[in-house]
């Protein structure tokens, strides 16, 4: 089995089949990432398609300064960020239509809807949003998240901590 680096080099030399092989290899990861962000299967597929279209353009100039995996996560994170920004108003309107949560004695035990959670995440500042998104959807270590988002491990941890705190407030969880 060829390594990612070899496939990228072949693609850079004009072999489009090498790119298709990369798509086959990483489609589950990319598609899975967007499936977690959106409940809409079509939307997840569209976002995955956007990621691979961006990769098709950018990989021609890829200089192997970072691992392909890291680079792919970065593209994923940026695409998700754009998606959140684009749907900011739609999410707000959509949330207005959701049912009020039924009364429970302990708010901590309440099950939130996925949509409600992502709407809260989309309201976070950009850095916090990206860190929280990478951590909860991909369960990546903070060191890797720092690498992907060009920040230190400590900064990633701090952003995650503040992000989670803010999400709790947005979801109405009283600690």
């Amino acid at each position: 089995m060829k390594k990612d680096r070899e496939l990228i080099q072949e693609f850079q030399n004009g072999d489009e089949e090498a790119f298709n092989e990369l798509v086959r290899r990483y489609l589950d990861l990319v598609h899975g990432f967007f499936q977690k962000i959106t409940d809409d299967e079509m939307e997840a597929e569209d976002l995955a398609q956007n990621v691979f279209i961006k990769l098709f353009k950018s990989l021609k100039k890829f200089r192997f300064e970072s691992e392909f995996n890291t680079y792919l996560y970065r593209v994923n994170a940026n695409t998700a960020n754009t998606y959140f920004k684009r749907n900011k108003w739609r999410n707000i309107l959509h949330l207005d239509q959701t049912d009020e949560p039924s009364y429970v004695d302990n708010q901590q035990d309440r099950e939130w809807k996925k949509e409600e959670l992502w709407n809260a995440i989309s309201k976070l500042p950009k850095k916090q949003r990206l860190v929280v998104m990478m951590r909860i959807s991909e369960m990546l270590p903070f060191k890797d998240i720092g690498n992907i988002l060009h920040m230190s491990e400590g900064t990633a941890k701090v952003n995650f901590h503040h992000g989670i705190k803010r999400i709790k407030v947005l979801l109405g969880i009283v600690e």
């Binding site: 798509v23 598609h31 899975g32 499936q35 299967e41 398609q49 279209i53 369960m139």
Partner: protein, 133 residues
């Protein structure tokens, strides 16, 4: 269960598989469509630029040296260089010589023809005739 795990549990659980070959076909189609759109946009922009350039060039060319007189535009000869004009005259000297010979030959009275050529200040042939005599 801590809050982070709870969030992870909320967002997981919908791992539907995707038909990879179908996705690649759709991706290829989308790329070609995007490429086509981009080339159409570039062609459109280039066409607009070309029209603007031709328009500006035509305007400048037509506007240069035009003299408005009596309801018409006349173009001055200022944009014709002297060297062009000299070259034109040089090429036409032989034609005018031929014309002068024709006038002399056709005229019954040779002196009338000479006086006519003298009147129009055409010296070449007169000088030649004088040298001959």
């Amino acid at each position: 269960m801590n809050f982070e795990s709870k969030i992870q549990q909320t967002i997981s659980g919908s791992d539907r598989t995707i038909d990879k070959e179908k996705f690649i076909n759709n991706l290829t189609e989308a790329r070609y469509k995007q490429k086509l759109k981009r080339s159409q946009a570039i062609s459109g922009i280039l066409a607009i630029c070309l029209i603007i350039i031709v328009g500006i060039a035509s305007y400048i060319e037509l506007d240069q040296g035009a003299i408005y007189s009596g309801g018409n535009f006349y173009f001055s000869d200022s944009n014709i260089s002297n060297s062009d004009f000299d070259e034109y005259n040089l090429n036409n000297d032989y034609f005018i010589d031929d014309l002068a010979i024709y006038i002399i030959e056709e005229e019954d009275d040779i002196w009338t023809a000479f006086s006519f050529l003298d009147e129009i200040e055409y010296d070449n042939f007169i000088n030649y005739m004088e040298e001959e005599s």
